[in-house]
Symmetry: C2
Amino acid sequence: MRRLSERIDREANAVYAARGIDFEQRWYGTLSLLDERGPLSVTEIARALNITHVAVSQARRSLTAAGLIASTLDPADGRRRTLHLTDAGAAFVARLWPLWDALNAVGDAINREAADPSAALDRLEGALDRMSLSERVERLLPRSI
Amino acid sequence: MRRLSERIDREANAVYAARGIDFEQRWYGTLSLLDERGPLSVTEIARALNITHVAVSQARRSLTAAGLIASTLDPADGRRRTLHLTDAGAAFVARLWPLWDALNAVGDAINREAADPSAALDRLEGALDRMSLSERVERLLPRSI
DNA sequence: CATAACTCCGTAAGCACTTACGTTGATTCG
DNA sequence: CGAATCAACGTAAGTGCTTACGGAGTTATG
């Protein structure tokens, strides 16, 4: 599973590289979200993407270094940093959308071709939600607690 | 996908921790293989597990530090290091088998419960083998080459 | 039989996340 | 209204892999 997800990352990277685009995978979520929904705080992005605020913060750092986004301190709440696309970032995203659309279309196509592995993963996640791994193991091989 | 695989890793870790066993996920492949098939070289293990020799080498380092395996230089071929379980390693593995069996059984059960996501992932991999991501994108959005 | 080509294995660094932990503001409440 | 709690965010370090690279030993070839 990890191997497969690494393979997909790698192949996606190759797509960008083949077109001479300097792009990091982890940029996608933040960039597309900022483009679609406007300025957002780090935590808002984290919640929308279902990752930790730390991952967003790291993406922020590299996106800022690349000059694609900038942040302003929220005047109403000194803890928050509101992230927004710079002009260069907006142009970059505009250039990338066709490629992202293509990638998403390819993802859908593969998903159909392979009989919906994505739904299968959702079911797996659901199974773990119903009963955790540890609980299942405990039930099969009681020992601790 | 990455998130889910990380979740599984985490839950599996919790299983070991709950039983007070000091265990690293990446040990599993090498330990179980050495126990089932006897002394093996780094590259042999890598091929059997379908990972890089580097990953095996890193596991080797940490397993050696933990005193669970040891290596001898192959007298016939000076490049090879043959890895084998130490006495402590063999005892550790013996103690762990029931847990591994339980984990595998739980994996099978979840797999059935969730309508075989594992097969779905194999199909996904197969689809990528038939045509790579870049090729699919190229076909949809010709640009480069 | 020297040299080119290949194989085994190691270290370093990167990737995209995570947890652990601390700092600085905002909010609540007695 | 001051103290305790909570929320937003940052850095450091870890995880389990990967690619890039290099050294040293083995095999093939002209």
